[in-house]
Subunit: 136 residues, 4 copies
Amino acid sequence: MAYLHRVLYGDTDQMQVVYYASYLRFFEGARNEWIRGHGLAYTEIEAAGVFLPVVEAFVRYHRPARYDDLLEIETDVSTTRVRLRFDYQVRRRGDDAVLTEGHTVHVSVDREGRLVRFPGWLTEKLAAHVRQGMPE
Amino acid sequence: MAYLHRVLYGDTDQMQVVYYASYLRFFEGARNEWIRGHGLAYTEIEAAGVFLPVVEAFVRYHRPARYDDLLEIETDVSTTRVRLRFDYQVRRRGDDAVLTEGHTVHVSVDREGRLVRFPGWLTEKLAAHVRQGMPE
Amino acid sequence: MAYLHRVLYGDTDQMQVVYYASYLRFFEGARNEWIRGHGLAYTEIEAAGVFLPVVEAFVRYHRPARYDDLLEIETDVSTTRVRLRFDYQVRRRGDDAVLTEGHTVHVSVDREGRLVRFPGWLTEKLAAHVRQGMPE
Amino acid sequence: MAYLHRVLYGDTDQMQVVYYASYLRFFEGARNEWIRGHGLAYTEIEAAGVFLPVVEAFVRYHRPARYDDLLEIETDVSTTRVRLRFDYQVRRRGDDAVLTEGHTVHVSVDREGRLVRFPGWLTEKLAAHVRQGMPE
């Protein structure tokens, strides 16, 4: 259930590698597909009045990805009562080497932007796929 | 009152020139500054319930712009009763050659997205700076 | 063989619709897939010393696309001796209404950026899929 | 010598705040201006055969920035023999509250991508403006 992305010109920069900010876009795509792949759409979560804004993002760049590479992004999710963390690993399809890895941390807020616990139905739906506790 | 933009890595692509879609971002910046420079902010126009969505965009690419270029974008505006058109010319600062030119056409809609005439106060405010009629 | 793109947060803007410049990225994706789908990769064309820089881009915006829409982009290609034109139509998957349409025009240049005719092998490979002559 | 950026539609997303990846673009602009402000251009460093690819990026999001905000980004730089770190703080101009902060870590490589020490001339030029040692 990895997320695939074919690198476009628009993702690269003049060093002829993927621009460093592009990975946060790829992470968003991977996160979106992970949620959808577990029987939810992010639009449904929002329709229920729950929003998951990012409070922290981190990327470590090991090796460059290049134009036309077919990238495969694997996503792992862990949670505490008030935080959801997605960890991402980016590889070229069919290649073991991790090019880039990173994570994003999200909180749960209501329409007015106040912090709220993750609603029970969401926790239940995700429980089987999510680690309890957060990596250091 | 030209709009200045210093080209970033993030604007370029692996051909080592500015990516073709980046110019539409530069045009947005130039449009925004043109409006502000004539005593309005686009946020004020929106606060008055008038929105100016783009219905058409065009770019002609003559010569490439490159990383670290300081681009200068000149903007001309023309109008009919229901359309507003911005024409843009992109040069390197201090250089006459036009690198890229283009235009965007905007209509005037209300909060529900219905087409409306440009409100009188907006037309008056812009009248001195805008050509009547639209280029072919 | 249409190109599919799931709309991300990063493609949208604060009007809660897809940002106008994002369509040029989608067009690039569609163009890339069209070429690949006809037995070529754009990287191979470049490896042969032929580059296809864009000299003109146009977009007409009919109806907004929104976050999480699954967009389907159809591509048609036409050619003259020195120009290649891609026409694009963007729809929501499973819906007939065209949201956005546009085109890009490309010329053929060598490594030094000089205009060259499309090489014979490229013309032959694409001949069956490309209209001769260019739309008005 | 803070870097200023006026938030565009293209920087925002449908949550009506600045998209999380946009901050890495702003950081690049701030980094570029910081280097230029200390009597160097990044293009000169590259012309000398030294490249400073990013190996790590981090962003913490405290409060949202919005369309048309005039953002002011302050940059601090610290260094060890082989790493250069930029720390960024983003505020609305004239407002003390930090909206977003983050850092990027860069290494020094030659044209072949091999790790090299920062060249002496670069270290000297930057010495007065850079802290020795890296924050935890």
